[in-house]
């Protein structure tokens, strides 16, 4: 047994970790080796001196209560801030109502102005014509913005007895 292994055996013997056979070997070692006895005495003194340091730090509160406080602290940091319960002023409420109303008003106003200015209507392309005169024609001159409804009426004979143009009056 080497010197280092003897030292380990002595430490284990002091801690009560050896089997009976190993313990008897250590006892026989101590009987014949005074240095081993001295080392054992030194280890025992050191062990006794450190006993106070091995006593765990005791919390002033229970372990569960300590961790529950930490948990509450963490949850408190992540929870949303409570809403303000102070009353909303009437001006803010009215403004909230008028904001979309104003937007709608502006759009509708622009649409109204554009429609009136351009004169575009939904039925611009739909022309409904009912003619008692079967020989009548309808012609659209889109470039001139004119629609002609050409009729056989008044027939030529209606004006035949009058001068040119006089029949209109």
């Amino acid at each position: 047994m080497t010197e280092y292994q003897n030292q380990l055996k002595l430490q284990s013997h002091l801690d009560g970790e050896l089997s009976e056979a190993e313990a008897s070997e250590v006892v026989s070692l101590l009987a014949r080796d005074p240095e081993a006895v001295a080392l054992l005495a030194e280890l025992r003194q050191t062990s006794e001196a450190l006993v106070g340091f091995e006593d765990g730090i005791r919390l002033p509160e229970s372990r569960d209560f300590f961790w529950s406080k930490i948990q509450r602290e963490i949850e408190g940091q992540h929870s949303p801030a409570p809403e303000r319960t102070s009353p909303v002023p009437w001006s803010a409420r009215l403004r909230r109502l008028l904001m979309p109303a104003t937007g709608f008003a502006v759009v509708a106003l622009l649409a109204l102005v554009v429609t009136r200015e351009t004169g575009s209507g939904p039925a611009q392309s739909s022309v409904e014509t009912s003619l008692a005169d079967s020989g009548a024609l309808v012609y659209h001159d889109f470039s001139a913005r004119a629609t002609f409804v050409w009729l056989a009426y008044p027939a030529d004979d209606e004006f035949s007895e009058e001068d040119e143009g006089a029949g209109f009056e």
Binding site: A92, T102, G121, A123, L131, V149, A166, F168, E169
Partner: protein, 153 residues
């Protein structure tokens, strides 16, 4: 920040915009429509019939009549009238001929032409400002008559 500093001004602005919209819509819905009907004689002659003091039609109208073949157009009669929204009016353009103009929704109108008291033609179409509807027909000696319906406003 401005809204917080000047809430009253902001509110007044919103109210003004909404109010102007209401006024505009109300005006648009209740606005009167102005029409003009011209009885026109179309001819290739450079002058009106003897003894008649017909004036040539305005250049703008003549330009709109460019689809027709005649060289000259003389105004025989002009009638200006106002139509309340949704209403109709019957105007006599000659002793034998009448026009009934009815305002439909939007810029649409219905124009009915009566000859000797009988309906001759009925036209429904959009007639925006500046556009013309021209019922017409042939007249003696290669001339023509035109009843130009124009929406003035």
């Amino acid at each position: 920040m401005r809204c917080k500093l000047f809430p009253t001004a902001t509110l007044l602005w919103h109210i003004a915009v909404v109010g102007s919209l209401g006024a505009s819509v109300s005006k648009a819905q209740g606005a009167d429509l102005k029409f003009q009907v011209q009885l026109v004689w179309a001819t290739d002659d450079s002058r009106p019939p003897t003894g008649k003091d017909y004036k040539p039609v305005e250049g703008g109208i003549k330009s709109q009549l460019r689809a027709l073949k005649w060289k000259n157009y003389f105004e025989v009669k002009r009638i200006d009238f106002t139509l309340a929204a949704g209403s109709q009016k019957r105007v006599a353009i000659s002793e034998k001929c009448e026009l009934n103009v009815r305002d439909l929704s939007g810029s649409n109108v219905e124009v009915i032409l009566f000859g000797r008291g009988k309906e001759v033609a009925r036209v429904k179409q959009a007639l925006p400002k500046g556009e013309i509807l021209v019922p017409g027909g042939n007249a003696p000696n290669e001339t023509a008559w035109l009843a130009i319906v124009k929406r003035v406003d």
